[in-house]
């Protein structure tokens, strides 16, 4: 009898894991992906949509078209997981039995955790949010733009830095840069979590006149007064406020008692197995691992989970192990991009922004739909540079 593999989430990690497991196990496994929308989103493109450089159609595809034919897709939400009975309950009343469960449920945005955020701030962390921000930027004629982070952890840590650099370029193109100020409100004492990347981007921000407010962890927004306040006790005025909303793990993780206080799945950093439940794995944003929540993390974790499930089904000892590998592009404007590649043993050493890496990023953006979800990216891509 084939092993029953259920994968919750049809994002980067869930889709790639499903395709790899089906490819490697063939008729030894029946793979089912459960996704509440059935639409796969290319989230790195939200930023371009907000800046008017990409349309919504380019950023989404029918999940069914990305999955191998033998992989089943259930388009509905999972509402409860019972690890002892090994079942997943679905919103329309059905139940799926599993031998192996992969939690690729991602993160959810919880704007209501910050008073005033929903009414007072824009974001580019959802497609709808990005398209609304595009309208607001189209109508913007100058003023104070504040960009900040309203909760940690959040997806794609370089995105706020990338956004201010690209926005600055856009305002210059439109001839309203001299009527505008741009401030990046960082939750840290530098622009970005990774120190080496901060050292690279802060001089670029300085040269472009982008202000940096440090240790500004957003606590509340007052839309009527047009002010945003920080946990550190500061208050600042804005004309256009753009915030990364707070993130949490998905409701099904909370409801099933499988997560920590933030709804993140306690995950072994090497095996990617749930710390308390054999047979349950987690990948991507859903985990509690202290590394970047990004598509590349899920991309590098999916083969590990697929390989381990294959070994378990075949009764051999699993060998695959995740070593903290992440790769993020960081576009700095002016047609240049740098890249952050790192793992547990190799800290990031970002190169000077170049057109070479910019071309690589755009090629990746263009080829994503035909390569990554299907497992067609060579393993060596994104490997940190050995020094």
């Amino acid at each position: 009898m084939p092993a029953r593999v259920v994968i919750l989430g049809g994002g980067v990690g869930g889709t790639l894991a499903a395709n790899l497991i089906d490819k490697q196990l063939g008729r030894d496994a029946d793979v089912t992906v459960v996704d509440p929308t059935g639409m796969h989103l290319y989230q790195p493109g939200f930023l371009y949509a907000a800046l008017g450089q990409a349309n919504g159609r380019w950023l989404s595809r029918d999940e069914r078209l990305l999955l191998r034919p033998r992989v089943s897709l259930a388009v509905e939400a999972a509402t409860m997981i019972d690890p002892s009975a090994r079942t997943v309950q679905l919103e329309h009343g059905g139940t799926l039995d599993y031998d192996y469960l992969v939690l690729a449920t991602g993160a959810r945005l919880v704007p209501d955790e910050i008073p005033g955020l929903r009414e007072g701030a824009h974001d580019f962390y959802s497609l709808a949010g990005a398209l609304r921000l595009r309208e607001a930027l189209r109508d913007f004629r100058g003023g104070r733009i504040r960009v900040g982070v309203a909760g940690i952890p959040y997806k794609c840590p370089p995105a706020p830095v990338e956004f201010v650099l690209l926005l600055e370029q856009e305002l210059r193109k439109r001839g309203i840069r001299d009527r505008s100020t741009i401030t990046l409100m960082s939750p840290l004492n530098r622009a970005f979590t990774i120190e080496s990347a901060s050292k690279l981007v802060q001089p670029i921000m300085d040269r472009r006149g982008i202000e940096l407010a440090t240790f500004f962890n957003v606590e509340s927004v007052d839309p009527a007064a047009g002010t945003v306040s920080s946990l550190e006790g500061e208050k600042t005025e804005y004309d256009l406020l753009i915030l990364v909303p707070p993130h949490r793990g998905q409701a099904v993780i909370d409801a099933s008692g499988l997560g920590d206080s933030g709804g993140w799945v306690p995950t072994d950093p090497a095996t990617l197995q749930h710390r308390d439940h054999a047979g349950i794995f987690a990948i991507g944003d859903a985990t509690d691992l202290p590394i970047s929540k990004s598509g590349s993390t899920a991309h590098f974790q999916a083969p590990v989970v697929a390989g381990r499930i294959k070994s378990l089904v075949h009764g051999t000892a699993p060998k695959e192990s995740y070593g903290g590998r992440v790769m993020c592009f960081l576009e700095t404007g002016g047609g240049k991009t740098t890249v952050l590649r790192f793992d547990d043993e190799h800290p990031p050493a970002p190169p000077a922004p170049s057109r070479h890496w910019h071309a690589a990023k755009w090629m990746f953006n263009r080829l994503y739909w035909h390569t990554l979800p299907q497992g067609r990216i060579p393993e060596r891509m994104g490997r940190p540079k050995r020094r």
Binding site: N189, T214, F215, E219, E232, G233
Partner: protein, 79 residues
């Protein structure tokens, strides 16, 4: 200050910088004014960024203690 005053201990050992500080900020959001939190970190960057943040946020750094392989920071939420 005794250990019984600490309402929550955040074990951030193994989290690279700025993970321990971020864990502290996350918990202090939820803590009551006057309560004390303890953070354990084995990242050397915490020695700089945790005291710097506490000063900026006008909380009170009660103690910094070297333990066996990690550092303990005790912080009181002042406002």
């Amino acid at each position: 200050m005794t250990t019984t005053d600490v309402v929550k201990t955040i074990d951030a050992r193994g989290k690279p910088c700025p993970g321990p500080l971020m864990a502290l900020i996350g918990e202090i959001r939820r803590a009551g004014i006057g309560s004390a939190l303890e953070v354990w970190s084995n990242d050397s960057g915490s020695r700089i960024d945790i005291p710097a943040w506490i000063e900026k946020a006008r909380h009170e750094l009660i103690s910094v203690t070297d333990m066996d392989g990690y550092t303990s920071f005790v912080v009181r939420k002042a406002r």
